[in-house]
Amino acid sequence: MSKERLKTGFDFTWKDMEVGNIVKEAGSAALRKTGDWRTQRPTIDKQRCNKCGLCWLHCPDAAIKPLDDEYYEADLFYCKGCGICAKVCPKDAITMEEEET
């Protein structure tokens, strides 16, 4: 599902609501940007990373993506900046940086 097709609640008037607010499209929660209230973003230092995958395993929002080169990166569309990945990283390869306002 492409993120360009993203529709938010603001696109609906009361007349557009399905009966009982039923959502007809399966998996539409994937289209909802949940990473828009992050105050810090994780940055991963490939020099330190040993590809152990603990960040990917512990992320409560499945916002750590495995890459083709076996490293990882944060999907900022979903990442809420909780910092768990940085905390569990045994190599201190992840640092939380302030989001600019």
């Binding site: 938010t8 609640g9 603001f10 609906f12 008037t13 009361w14 007349k15 557009d16 609501m17 399905e18 009966v19 009982g20 607010n21 039923i22 959502v23 007809k24 399966a26 539409s28």
Partner: protein
């Protein structure tokens, strides 16, 4: 041929549910509703009704089970009373906002404390704003008729709302009266098979009950409110077609001897029949009084009410519930509010009685009319009076 049989109100409801050929029944027994699920469980066990009877552990679960069944497109029924309706409360809101046309009979019962299994309208008034279509019954025939009608209206493709059928605990639920049962083929003509537009199905995945963040909640609620008010057209059509099929025509606001009546009494439910005798007695003595009975409680019948009272000087509203510290009985305050901006309206006064199973005799209703007129003549300074309560005047004023 239809047949006329003696049935208590509970069994009249059960017969209607059987003839409606429901798919799922989930209910928890509570006085005075017990005979409804008891009779339905018996029908299912004896093979008289091909339905799933879900014996749940609470009223909260009873209605939840009905919602689950309705979500896959089943015709569903439950029944409760008093405390049971209170325990069910949060799910009552879900049924209407998720637009599942569950039908529920409520054998109206007082709320604790002190513990009372007897009847009044406190339970009904506590679910006043839950978004269900709600009707009140005056007798057991109506309990049968309104239950059948409820499926037809709630399942209407443009409606899809749950319907609550209120019948007075004990005064109807446990009293045997003659009830005309129709032919099954007429019921099937009146009540086509239920087709839910977007049922849960593995082949066509949909999400029911998704969360609504602030940017969509208002839109969802306005859509629900508009649907509730628009259901009125289907309600009226349902009354008409019910009459055309079975010969008994109902109206949102029932009128009794209201011609040239300067004073009108307004009641709901089975006490309306007692009040009619009081009206007869007063008419015989030459007093110009009439009775209005609200059948349809939600959506509120504004238009019919205004039309019914437009020529009256005094409107006495009889409530069977107290709104503690509030603006009088719930029915009275709604009626007063509905009429407030009308160009010509009667003086509205409230009386409360029949609480927790206290009987109201014909003489009591004659007193209600006399007392109501006295309150109106005195400038309606009192907010309301309670009929037949022992002790000095409580002097309840706004």
């Amino acid at each position: 041929m239809s047949k006329r049989v003696g049935l208590e109100g509970s069994h009249a409801v059960a017969e209607a549910v059987r003839m409606a050929d429901v798919d799922v029944i989930a209910a928890y027994p509570i006085t005075p509703q017990t005979h409804i699920p008891e009779r339905l469980a018996e029908m299912v066990a004896d093979g008289e009704l091909n339905a799933a009877y879900v014996p749940v552990e609470s009223e909260h679960s009873a209605l939840s089970a009905c919602l689950g069944a309705a979500a896959v497109g089943a015709r569903t029924f439950t029944a409760t009373a008093g405390q049971g309706l209170e325990l069910m409360h949060e799910v009552v809101y879900l049924a209407s906002s998720m637009r599942y046309p569950v039908v529920m009979a409520v054998c109206n019962r007082a709320l604790s404390a002190p513990l009372s299994v007897w009847g009044d309208h406190s339970d009904a008034m506590a679910v006043r704003d839950t978004g269900w279509i709600q009707v009140f019954c005056q007798n057991n025939q109506e309990a049968f008729d309104m239950t059948l009608w409820a499926f037809r209206v709630g399942e209407g493709p443009t409606v899809l709302l749950p319907v609550m059928v209120h019948l007075d605990g004990f005064h109807l639920s446990h009293v045997t009266e003659p009830v005309i049962l129709p032919e099954q083929e007429d019921v099937e003509r009146f009540l086509p098979r239920f087709r839910y537009p977007l049922p849960l199905h593995p082949d066509r995945p949909t999400t029911h009950g998704a969360f609504g963040p602030p940017e969509i909640y208002s839109e969802a609620k306005v859509a629900q409110e508009v649907a509730t008010r628009k259901s009125k057209a289907v309600i009226m059509q349902g009354f008409q077609e019910f009459g055309d099929t079975f010969g008994r025509y109902y109206r949102p606001v029932e009128l009794y001897r209201t011609d040239k009546a300067g004073t009108l009494l307004l009641t709901m439910g089975s006490f309306s029949e007692t009040a009619k005798i009081a009206i007869d007695r007063k008419r015989k003595r030459g007093e110009p009084v009439g009775l209005i009975s609200l059948r349809l409680w939600r959506p509120f019948p504004f238009e019919e009410l205004r039309e019914a009272v437009k020529d009256a000087d005094v409107l006495i509203v009889f409530d069977r519930c107290i709104s503690f510290g509030g603006p009088g009985g719930p029915v009275c305050s709604e009626v007063r509010s509905a009429l407030y901006n009308a160009k010509k309206r009667p003086t509205v006064v409230g009386l409360i009685g029949g609480l927790g199973g206290r009987d109201m005799s014909v003489e009591d209703f004659e007193y209600v009319i006399d007392r109501g007129r006295e309150m109106a003549a005195g400038g309606a300074e009192e907010l309301y009076d309670v009929v037949g309560v022992r002790g000095p005047a409580a002097g309840i004023r706004g």
